[in-house]
Structures are given as structure tokens and as C-alpha cells.
């Protein structure tokens, strides 16, 4: 099994590779456990693509000092009849007399792995087969995510919650990637991945509680809506800072590696997040440390109002993997089957070979950046409409399910009605629950509140007592 990294005739011609075929090479697998890791063929593939730096063992080693021979002889030696070669740290480098600059990009953009087309037709059998149960479950959760997002968004518009982030258009990314992982895999989300948490078992009521910041919120009302976190679902609390979670995931992978746990960490981020310093260094670190982490980039075309052309000039994110020595792949972000297969394969690679993997999913941000944004100000309604209708991940997947005979329009109607009812109910219940008590302002800053916080709490309680009308009723309880 191998993954195609990049087609690069112009880049690589100096190194004379034997390029493998384009596209993914898969063995037809009927179940989950049929990934064989042919390391020789894999590293053979890597060598063929001329990376020139892969003479290292791929399994993780605790003692890496033997590989760090910084004082390697930097002398040139003559090959037998060949051009001169520089024996440089990292591998031999051939000389050339061509004054050729590598072009800024390849002639053709990196190809995108896809299985289902817009009409829900299978274009290939190169994917991980899933059972009807799993497929229906995936679809159900995609619909649940879509329903939750739509209704919560409306609730925000009605003033019932203050803020919300939708994942409209990215349901396949959310659910299919979550389905391909295990609960042992720690997830470090940005903020548009609530579907992953949904799949793992966070209930609609818990989502609603967090958005309303009521006293049943497991974050105790401390974070903005949609900044979920749940230790029992191995989903790390969302922070508003962009891409700070990417190095966290590398640290978690390091922790898994130290403890030799059969799991990998995964982190999600958008196209905009890849411009940050944290992204760069995290990929670099993960490659150097051989950490089992999946970097999942949701390239949805927009970072608030910044289109990708203004964000970077590389061919998306997938090409950057190679710059760090990381395996990468581009997948169709609206194709649940493709995402499922890619994440399964990436997870296997990350764990068995102890290496990071980069996945770029091309998709579209169907909604606004958040409820504080109105994207029609900077993009056309036609563009939004086209993606929403023609590329909708749910309709594509549903068509495939219907073709397989696992779904029909009655089931659809029933599901939608039930979901809508559940979500509305969750909101209604959450709205009635009271807010967290004043004491929750001061707990969890440290493991135990220090004296200055005790003081400050006392001062606040005294103030509330003196001026009860300035504060909500029962606030001090």
C-alpha cells in the first residue's frame, strides 16, 4: 500500500525518479483489518519520488543519537563515472550544471482522491468498504449535525444564544473522519468540528447546555458557545486562538509515543490556520519526532473574508507536507467515503509507522464564518448556492445510500422530523436551566483557589449582597 505524494516531473527531473502511477494504490479490502504495511514498497515509493532523505528507519527509536552525526564528512566524492555527489547530512546530493530554479508549483495541481461523484455514483472501488449499518449511522449523524447547526443558528438569530459556529457544507469531514477514528485517539479541534464530538457521543442536550452556558454545561459556563470540550470523549476544549491546537496535538502524539499506546492524535484546522507559525513548527516537530499525529486541514476556501488566493500561493496545503517530510494527501471534502478511507489509512500509517500524516480536504464553507459574520458581503450568493446544492455532502451520500438500497425518502422524512424535534427540545430544556453560580468564576483557575481569589470572591459576594438589584436574581447561589 502506498500513497501518492505528488506528481512532479519538473521538480524531480534532476533526480530522475521512477514515478509510480498517479492516484492511490489500494488493495481491495473487504473489512477493516486488511491494511498491510509493506514498508519496503512504501519506502521504495518514497525513494522513487526522489525525496532523497529517507535512509532512516521508519519505526520510532528511543535512542536517536546514532543518527545525529553532525560532523559527517562534507567532502565530495566521485561516483564511478557519474556526476559528483555531495555527502551532506540527510543524504547524498548530486550536483548539476543546470542553473534551474524549482518552479513555484507543479504544472498540474495535486490530484484529489474521490470515490463518490456529485450524483452519488461510485467512480472506483478503491475505498474501504463500509457496512450498511455504518453507512446509515454516518448519514444519520451528518443529518443530525446539519439539523443542530441550522436550528442553533436560528436560535442565535432569535437572540436566544449569543454566538454560534456552523459547519454547514463540512458535514462529511466531521462525521466521516470521526467514524474512521477510535475513542482512544485524542482530538484537537479548531471550532468547526462539533460533528466529531457528536459522533463520539456528546448528546444534543450537552451541546445545548454549553451554548447556553447553563449550570449543566460541562465547561461550567466558561467558554463561548461552540467551544466544546469533553475529557471522556477525548475531545480537547476548543480555544479561540487559531492553530494553537496543532502543536498540542503533536505533544499528545509524543505522549502516546512515550507510553506506546495504540492510538494517534488528530488535529483539525482550516486553510487560514496554516499560515500561522504554530502550524509550521508543529509539522516540522512531528516529522522530526516521528510522532503519530494526523493533521487534517479543512480547506474550505475562506478564512472569514480572506479567500485562499490571499492566504497562500502554494497549491493548497497538501504540497506543504513534503516540505516537512510528511506524507500528505488531498481528498474531496464533500465525499464521505473518500474521507473515511483516507483517515483510516492515515491512522494506520501514523500508528504502525509512527509518523505524521497530512490530509487536505477540499470543501466549502457553506455558512458564514460565525454568527458575527455576513459572508454575502464578500462572496456571491451564486457561489454559495452552487456549493450548497451541487456539492452538498449529504445529498451525495444519501444518493449513494439509496442506490445501495439502504435508505429511502420515508426514512429521510422520519429522520429529519425526529432530529428537528430532538434539537428543539434540547434547546428548550437548556434555556430553562439556570446559569452557573458565582463560585464558578473562581474555581479551576488553579487546582485549589489561592488566597487572593478567596478574597476577590468574598468582595464580589459582598458587593452582590449590597446591590442585589444590579445582579440577576439568585446570582450568588
Amino acid at each position: 500500500m502506498g500513497f501518492y505524494l505528488s506528481k512532479s516531473r519538473t521538480v524531480m527531473h534532476n533526480l530522475k525518479p521512477k514515478l509510480g502511477s498517479l492516484g492511490v494504490m489500494f488493495h481491495q479490502s473487504s473489512g477493516i483489518a486488511s491494511f498491510s504495511h509493506h514498508q519496503e514498497s512504501q519506502s521504495g515509493l518514497i525513494k522513487n519520488l526522489g525525496a532523497g532523505s529517507c535512509n532512516r528507519p521508519t519505526l520510532f527509536t528511543i535512542w536517536r543519537s546514532e543518527h545525529f552525526k553532525a560532523e559527517k564528512q562534507l567532502d565530495c566524492k566521485q561516483n564511478s563515472g557519474g556526476p559528483q555527489v555531495l555527502n551532506f547530512p540527510g543524504g547524498n546530493v548530486k550536483f548539476t550544471s543546470e542553473l534551474d530554479f524549482l518552479p513555484e508549483g507543479l504544472e498540474e495541481r495535486v490530484h484529489c482522491y474521490r470515490i463518490l461523484d456529485e450524483n452519488g455514483e461510485l467512480t472506483s472501488s478503491n475505498f474501504v468498504q463500509i457496512s450498511d449499518e455504518l453507512a446509515v449511522r454516518m448519514y444519520t449523524y451528518m443529518a443530525m449535525l446539519q439539523t443542530m447547526d441550522t436550528i442553533f443558528y436560528e436560535a442565535q438569530r432569535q437572540g436566544r444564544i449569543s454566538f454560534y459556529v456552523t459547519a454547514i457544507g463540512e458535514e462529511a469531514i466531521n462525521i466521516a473522519s470521526a467514524a474512521a477514528l477510535q475513542l482512544d485517539d485524542p482530538v484537537f479541534p479548531q471550532y468547526r468540528e462539533s460533528g466529531v464530538l457528536l459522533w463520539r457521543g456528546f448528546t444534543l442536550q450537552e451541546f445545548a447546555n454549553q451554548c447556553f452556558g447553563n449550570k449543566n454545561d460541562n465547561c461550567k459556563g466558561r467558554q463561548m458557545p461552540a467551544h466544546y470540550g469533553s475529557v471522556k470523549h477525548n475531545y480537547f476544549t476548543v480555544a479561540s486562538t487559531v492553530a494553537t491546537q496543532v502543536p498540542h496535538a503533536v505533544g499528545a502524539a509524543y505522549s502516546l509515543k512515550m507510553d506506546r499506546i495504540n492510538a494517534c492524535s488528530i488535529t483539525y484546522f482550516g486553510d487560514g490556520g496554516t499560515s500561522t507559525g504554530d502550524f509550521h513548527a508543529a509539522l516540522n516537530f512531528a516529522a522530526v519526532m516521528e510522532a503519530p499525529v494526523i493533521f487534517f486541514c479543512r480547506n474550505n476556501g475562506w478564512a472569514i473574508s480572506t479567500p485562499v488566493e490571499d492566504q497562500f500561493r502554494s497549491d493548497g496545503i497538501v504540497v506543504r507536507g513534503q516540505a516537512y517530510g510528511v506524507h500528505s494527501i488531498r481528498v474531496d471534502g464533500n465525499d464521505a467515503l473518500a474521507i473515511y478511507s483516507a483517515v483510516r489509512a492515515a491512522r494506520q500509517m501514523a500508528i504502525t509507522e509512527q509518523r505524521p500524516v497530512l490530509i487536505e480536504a477540499l470543501t466549502y464553507r457553506g455558512g458564514h464564518h460565525t454568527t458575527s459574520d455576513d459572508s454575502t458581503r464578500y462572496r456571491s450568493a451564486e457561489e454559495i448556492e452552487w456549493w450548497r446544492v451541487a456539492q452538498c455532502p449529504l445529498s451525495r451520500f444519501r444518493k449513494w445510500l439509496e442506490k445501495e438500497g439502504w435508505w429511502d425518502s420515508d426514512a429521510e422524512t422520519e429522520l429529519r422530523a425526529s432530529l428537528r424535534k430532538q434539537v428543539l427540545h434540547a434547546i428548550q430544556v437548556a434555556e430553562q436551566v439556570e446559569k452557573p453560580p458565582v463560585a464558578d468564576i473562581f474555581t479551576d483557575v488553579y487546582d485549589a483557589p489561592p488566597s487572593n481569589l478567596h478574597e476577590q470572591e468574598t468582595t464580589l459576594l459582598e458587593t452582590i449582597e449590597k446591590h442585589p438589584k444590579e445582579y440577576p436574581p439568585n446570582f450568588s447561589c
Partner: protein
């Protein structure tokens, strides 16, 4: 340990005069400008390595309370404990914790095979492996972030900033994530990380390498800050910081790494939130920390000769302040002098002044005096650099003024 100490310390030229100078492993001539520091020996004598420009007429002899037997339970025998340098004490504390708990790991630039820029992690990579003592690429924000991620998933990492100033690059991770995630997650994820490194004004290291980061970090909610100043408290605070479930920033000082001291053989852990009574007194409370402790003690000798009785407290805990110890002292002496290395604006001294005024205003007979560095980047020239740092003469003058 003793053998290593001897190996490094043995380069001291045994001069006949009473000025014995302990040299660092890079040490050369006694009069070289580069290596100037205070040495506290086990018998309580303190010698200073001064260059010609700074040599004072009198030798300073001071009893550092830390070497007294207040904590050593087994004072049997003539010389209990073992001698080592401050950086070795840090390493000893680190090593003991790494032995005790396999989750403890170290990450930072050049901490592995190189042993750390100040040799705090020397030998640890050979003992524990490359993974537990991890060399990182140069991206402070990211390896601090990595440490936070590792801490949230069960490890207890110690992140070393090669110089505290480099941690400015990690400010985002420290403030927005390290300090906050325990709170914003509703207590679900804890971050038992230790961030440490040398800071403060060194010997002509230039403005960028002479930062006092404690003033920038002090406002971040969710973190604790401690500053070590002796080998004894360095080891104890290191162990306490590692065992704490809160994120702790441990401030070391570039010029204090070669302080020699005798510390107990038995295991000890200090309290992160406690201040240290260095010298009890009656007339004035002098609050200080880190390197300024030694300037204060030097001034104290002069003051004692002049008939004053200063009480010197090394506050050690920069966040939160040990207002209990400080308060008791203020209630006794009614006069406070703060001596710090931070800049005047927004430094630890500024916060401490505010805290004492707020809490103990009625006990003060005079306004609090705070001696700090000026609000300037640290200049390179030795003379200029010396005068941006509070000197013992200024401390003496301030006390005299305060006790009029």
C-alpha cells in the same frame, strides 16, 4: 555529585589571600570580567568574584540562612549534606523527579545531548533517552504548545526556555492556553507543566538576552510563578513545581547558576507559595528575590555595621505573593523596601507595592520604597549595564532614607 563539583570547582586558584574565587567550568583568570558571581560556602562565608572595576574595599561576609540547619533534620556529624552548584541542584531535583515519576519529561532547545545551555540537563539524555529529554527545533511557541498538549494527555513536561526572553515567543501558548485551558474546560483538562529558564540581567548579554519576564507574565491567570535564588531553594522549588498540578513558571537567573552550597542529602520539597526569611530584623523589611537577594545581603552587612537591623525576605513566590510572611514582617517593622531587577513600570515590585498598600496600609510608617531597574533596554557596555541594576550602595542609601 561531589566528584563533579570538585571537577568543576577545582580550577579555583588557591591564592594565599582570603579572597578565594570559585570559577565556572569556563573560568579562566580570576580578574576576567566575564565571570562574576557570589559564592556562598558551606561554612557561611560568602565570597564575591569581582572584577577590578567593581572591587569593594570590604569583603562581604554573610550568613545565608538557607544554608543553616532550619530544615535539615539530621544535623548529626560535622558536615551533613553535600555540596553542589545551583545548576547541579536544579539537575538533581529534576533527576529525582524523573526517577520517581516516569511521566516527567524535558523538552527544549539543546537540552538533550548538549546537556542544556547552562548544563541543567546534562547527562539526562544519556540516562533517560532521547524521547524523555527531547531536543526541539527552534520554535518556542510550538514546543510550549507541544508541552501543553503532552501535559493534557498525562505527561508532566518541563519546558526549558534557553533564555527566558525567548519565551516571549511562547506568550500566546502560555497565556491563552496554558493558563486558561483548565478553566475553560470546566476543570476537565489539567496542565501540570513547568516552564523554566534563566532570565535577568547577565554580564553583557545584550538587551534581548537580559529580559525580566516575570513582569510580563505576572498578570496571566492560571499560572504560578516562583523564582529560585539558592541551590537549596532551587532544588526544592524545582521538585515542587514538577509535582504541582498547576502550570508553574520557574525563574532562574543567569548569574546564579554557579552558586555553591551545601544542601541536605535527604529528599525535600519546598512550598511553592512560601517566602523565605533570609535575615530576621526589626527596623525595615526588605523584600527581594533572585539575584537581588545577594545585593541586598551585601548591603545588609553595611547596614548592620551602621547600626541598622534589616529584615530580609526572599519572596520566592512571585505569583501569588506570600502576603502572610510579608504581612507579619510589615506589622513588625512598619517600613518596606522592595529591591527588584524588573523595570520600574509594571514590574513585580509595582504589584507588590500595590498589594502591600492595599492590605497593610495601616501598619506602614512610611511610603513603600521600591528600587528597580530603569525603564530602559539593558545596554551592552559593562558600566552602563551595571548601573541599570540596583546596587548595594543604593540599597544602603534607601534604607537610611527610609529609617530617618
Amino acid at each position: 555529585m561531589a566528584a563533579i563539583v570538585q571537577g568543576i570547582g577545582a580550577t579555583a586558584a588557591p591564592s594565599a589571600s582570603s579572597n578565594k574565587f570559585l570559577l565556572s567550568s569556563l573560568g579562566s583568570s580570576l580578574l576576567e570580567k566575564k565571570r562574576n558571581f557570589f559564592v556562598v560556602r558551606s561554612d557561611g562565608k560568602c565570597y564575591t568574584g569581582l572584577n577590578q572595576q567593581q572591587r569593594r574595599a570590604q569583603n562581604v561576609v554573610t550568613n545565608a540562612v538557607a544554608t543553616k540547619e532550619e530544615k535539615a533534620s539530621a544535623a548529626v556529624g560535622s558536615k551533613p549534606g553535600h555540596e553542589l552548584l545551583l545548576f547541579e541542584a536544579l539537575r538533581e531535583g529534576l533527576e529525582e523527579e524523573m526517577d520517581r515519576d516516569p511521566c516527567v519529561c524535558v523538552m527544549g532547545e539543546d537540552v538533550g545531548h548538549y546537556g542544556g545551555s547552562y548544563k541543567v540537563t546534562k547527562g539526562l539524555a544519556e540516562k533517560y533517552g532521547d524521547l524523555r529529554v527531547l531536543d526541539t527545533p527552534i520554535a518556542e511557541n510550538s514546543f510550549t504548545g507541544m508541552g501543553i498538549g503532552a501535559a493534557m494527555t498525562g505527561l508532566r513536561p518541563i519546558v526549558e526556555g534557553m533564555n527566558m526572553g525567548f519565551l516571549l515567543l511562547a506568550f500566546n501558548q502560555i497565556s491563552n492556553n496554558c493558563g486558561m485551558l483548565h478553566y475553560t474546560s470546566g476543570g476537565q483538562f489539567k496542565i501540570p507543566i513547568v516552564i523554566r529558564g534563566p532570565g535577568g540581567v547577565g554580564r553583557q548579554l545584550g538587551a534581548e538576552h537580559s529580559q525580566r519576564l516575570e513582569s510580563y507574565f505576572q498578570s496571566i491567570p492560571g499560572i504560578q510563578m516562583v523564582a529560585c535564588s539558592t541551590a537549596y531553594n532551587a532544588k526544592g522549588l524545582m521538585k515542587a513545581a514538577i509535582r504541582s498540578d498547576n502550570p508553574v513558571i520557574l525563574f532562574e537567573h543567569v548569574l546564579l547558576y554557579n552558586l555553591k552550597e551545601r544542601i541536605p542529602d535527604e529528599e525535600y520539597v519546598l512550598n511553592l507559595e512560601e517566602a523565605e526569611m533570609v535575615r530576621p530584623g526589626e527596623h525595615v523589611t526588605i523584600l527581594t528575590y533572585s539575584r537581588m537577594r545577594y545585593h541586598v545581603m551585601q548591603a545588609a552587612k553595611t547596614l548592620v555595621n551602621k547600626g541598622y537591623d534589616p529584615e530580609v525576605i526572599d519572596i520566592r513566590s512571585l505569583k501569588p505573593f506570600d502576603l502572610y510572611t510579608i504581612g507579619n514582617s510589615v506589622k513588625k517593622t512598619h517600613r518596606v523596601l522592595i529591591v527588584e531587577e524588573c523595570m520600574r513600570t509594571g514590574g513585580i515590585g509595582a504589584s507588590l507595592t500595590a498589594a502591600i498598600n492595599e492590605n497593610f496600609h495601616d501598619y506602614l510608617d512610611a511610603p513603600i520604597v521600591c528600587l528597580s531597574s530603569q525603564d530602559v533596554p539593558t545596554p551592552y557596555a559593562g558600566t552602563l549595564e551595571e548601573w541599570t541594576v540596583v546596587q548595594p550602595a543604593q540599597i544602603v542609601a534607601a534604607v537610611e532614607q527610609l529609617c530617618l
